[in-house]
Symmetry: C2
Subunit: 623 residues, 2 copies
Amino acid sequence: MTTIRCLQCQSPVPSDLEIAQSVEPFEISRIAAAFGILPSELSPYGSTRAKVKLDILKRLENTKPGKYVVVAGMSPTPLGEGKSTTTIGLAQSLCAHLQRPTFACIRQPSQGPTFGIKGGAAGGGYSQVIPMEEFNLHGTGDIHAITAANNLLAAAIDARIFHERTQSDEALFRRLTAELKNFTSIMKKRLEKLGIHKDDPKDLTPEERVRFARLNIDPNTISWKRVMDVNDRMLRQITIGQGKEEKGMTRTTGFEISVASELMAILALAKDLNDMRNRFGAIEVAKSVSGEAITAEDIGCAGAMTVLMKDTIEPTLMQTLEGTPILVHAGPFGNIAHGNSSIIADRIGLKLAGENGFVLTEAGFGADMGCEKFFNIKCRTSGLRPDAAVVVVTLRALKFHGGVEPSKASIENIDALRHGCSNLLRHVENIRKFGVPVVVAINEFSTDTKMELDIVKELALREAGAFDVVVTNNWSRGGAGAVDLANALIRATQTIKADFRFLYPDTDSLKMKIEKICKEIYGAAGVEYLNDTNEKLEDFEHRGFGLYPICMAKTQYSFSHDPSLKGAPTGFIVPIRDVRVNCGAKFVFPILGDISTMPGLPTRPAFFNIDIDGDTGAITGLS
Amino acid sequence: MTTIRCLQCQSPVPSDLEIAQSVEPFEISRIAAAFGILPSELSPYGSTRAKVKLDILKRLENTKPGKYVVVAGMSPTPLGEGKSTTTIGLAQSLCAHLQRPTFACIRQPSQGPTFGIKGGAAGGGYSQVIPMEEFNLHGTGDIHAITAANNLLAAAIDARIFHERTQSDEALFRRLTAELKNFTSIMKKRLEKLGIHKDDPKDLTPEERVRFARLNIDPNTISWKRVMDVNDRMLRQITIGQGKEEKGMTRTTGFEISVASELMAILALAKDLNDMRNRFGAIEVAKSVSGEAITAEDIGCAGAMTVLMKDTIEPTLMQTLEGTPILVHAGPFGNIAHGNSSIIADRIGLKLAGENGFVLTEAGFGADMGCEKFFNIKCRTSGLRPDAAVVVVTLRALKFHGGVEPSKASIENIDALRHGCSNLLRHVENIRKFGVPVVVAINEFSTDTKMELDIVKELALREAGAFDVVVTNNWSRGGAGAVDLANALIRATQTIKADFRFLYPDTDSLKMKIEKICKEIYGAAGVEYLNDTNEKLEDFEHRGFGLYPICMAKTQYSFSHDPSLKGAPTGFIVPIRDVRVNCGAKFVFPILGDISTMPGLPTRPAFFNIDIDGDTGAITGLS
């Protein structure tokens, strides 16, 4: 039973939606069966999506894993480089054309961009995930579950403050423990933290009752925001609690887009349900008036959050146009979080691919962001070791980094190309510092000239030490257009044994870690610690977070903190404007500039094109 | 292949969760097959939930439908009456014990109450929907899709105002139509409304460009709120747009709980996807500064909203503990909306049940609310005609309506019972005004005495003309405990041919409709129109909404507008404080008092009990 589909590629290439709708997807159970997933390990969601149960990891414990390849990009430009398209096309090539069992592990897109500016994220042309509407819309509901869990915690924080303010110590304790002969197991976690080892609420002393019942949250310290998976700029900063019944308990806060929630970062890094539950409990949401950290466990809803998110821990199996399996898991937001798909999906993919196969896992944004975090955060957490990296570029984007305006990037311009290549070269050199061989994929456009292509090849091979540089045209030709890239990748993993190493050990101080990233990856001359970041970093070290990795919150458009610095800037000083810790995701994130965590809608959002035929159910205008 | 499961009922009755977890659900495909749903008509979501495709209605076009029974309640009390439990128990009885193919059509519960005060809504004891956690949590994602669609529209409204304020006429028109040779089909709908019949943006006159591009929304008139499926009281009233980038465009608004969205009311009343799409377009969200109604179609996102909600139109098949099929569709919110499950689910259930079978459909709150709206709104929209009604009561709740405190409601009290029976009697009389026979179900408690039961029976039969009054104990015994009720219902539908009639014709004026409901159903002496409701109603008549039915926004705790008036109050004057129109759901709703559309969390929310075992995935504390 094969699940390979041969594409009849048209020229000119039709719209993404037309291509996607021209292909009848295989039943997802058939894809699953073809790649070794048992029916009992599959939870179908309709006929084209299915969640994969984590039991599969036990069954395949002793299977040898496939090759682990991270797909990264050059510094992104407004022109788009086609990283997702190349990931999908390369997977099609390996799987359908070279008979290497391959899983592409990608992130579920946010609905915000789908209806806003960017459109969906299912790849494009003849390298797409299908059905693209299922992929771009609700998936199997993971982002919605994150929204629900995130906002339950937010509501619980404010409600707790409200109830503490409006009730006496006795009333508060009585209501919290009414009719309880024993504290609930969730309450016991807080009691343990307080060093109170009693089961029966009646046994607490008056002082213990107050300590248990009063979190005394300082409203000015609440760092937990509400989230929504919509581009809604008016929610960036809001004042809540203005209803009469709320008795003047107003507070300034804001919404972020759901995929920016710490819960998303946790989902991608969690090993299993227990690990997720414990990380949720550890999330710090505020400080008490006396400066103690208040966690989701103190609020009492980390269990309920895990219950809401229990199904999210299972990755979703989908397929490409050519019937190649895709594991969709976790979501975007590479600038404030790590921006990688999940450890669990990669692990399942590696076992299912087996020693002859491949897992392609996508890292968000440029390699300085997504790939650095893939190595230093994701691989550190998972223990998995990458075998190779692919860096996707276009000549247009390289010329843009060489100073050319977008509208002129399709015109041959050797000087600008040479200049802009510096961006690619530094990404390749950076990845090689981690001991991983790099294959460069040039996503070809019809306007590219042979001379331009040769220059990029020569520079990347000779100056940056890329293993190979290959032209791909999988957008117009599907997997057939990435066979050379696939062969180069196979050769790289056969020829070179990756000697993976982190950029810094756990035991480096937070400042040493920050400086290594800024100097060795970004090319900075130094780092300056602004505002109270020195004190905060000291405090973090003191509280034991010094062992956490660093997750830089930086623009993706430049190696530096300044999005206007194209190419491969040097000599700049990186300003650390703020520094925070995610105690659930377990990383420290320095903030280098304004990072928007809630996009807006443009004057003409994508929704002006999107409609549905009520008779046939056919969707128009999604891309 | 049977899907009947015989329960071994324990005494004392274990917790809901223990009972639910003691039963292994059938594969949902097996339930589907047993009740005549083809595999091609089913979209599974995991192994225990599946959406049913609307194609099934075409296939079964010529099948005779089952009996259509609405399950209603007396006026609710803090004690709980067990309406959901009785609906499910009665369905089990008819189906598993009396071999009548039966579908119970119920609403998807909101997550707010699940983690707040009330707990879940899967029934209780040995009459439950399983798996209760799937039912109480995300279901098949319908409420999440409503949240997404509702909030896309909200974000689009504010973004549109922002872009109109910050751009010149020319820039606005240019950005809206950039690179378009023809207007999109969505833009054409607005042009049609404006009487502009041109395809090419270039052909518009300057004046037409302004009319097309400037909606000129008056921010003070925006009635469309954002929603969230969480009990978050601090969002009831908020100020948005306080971020620097929003250039001072602040506005006071608020969130409602997702199930209160007009989109939910529309989902329940929509005939098909086309009807849903058209209703979404008709939603009025604000007025322009010159007083014109601005619709979701004008904003341009009714198509995208329908795309987001395309799967919600399919009801979800689940099962009871005894393997009886359940159709879950639409959601609660009977006080400001109609509070009924969907027309589509009822229609599918009726066809699948066939002429020997039954559909039990649950109407929210007391019969004065849910059942009146079921008859006057839902049946009017669907054209379906009910064959019988069941009214669920408990002696405790009747005594509460007779003036007894909740803590003493389990003690025999003949006077209070006689007095409180007035509540039941009026509900029965009301339903009989619609020409529908009524069976009263007394949900028995161990503290009920024979004398008390006899009094209720006698009063309901003799004074109110109930067809029968039957004691049930399906909570403790499952379907076996409702066999007498099931037999009484079968007899009612065999003996009496319902002579269904509406309380008012479409052509009555809005005021006549309001007064008929207030006087004939609520027992009011009159109606007074406060504030500007006279003018508003006149305006509605003028704009053609006079043909819409009325959806009263009233407390559910009393026949009157005053929740403290128990029993069957008379002589009161109903105050109409405000009146609004839902142009998508197509009803006019008078507002009688403060109706909260965003619940809060209590001091000890349900989440303090809810946790998950990370190793086994077993959930604790859900109810």
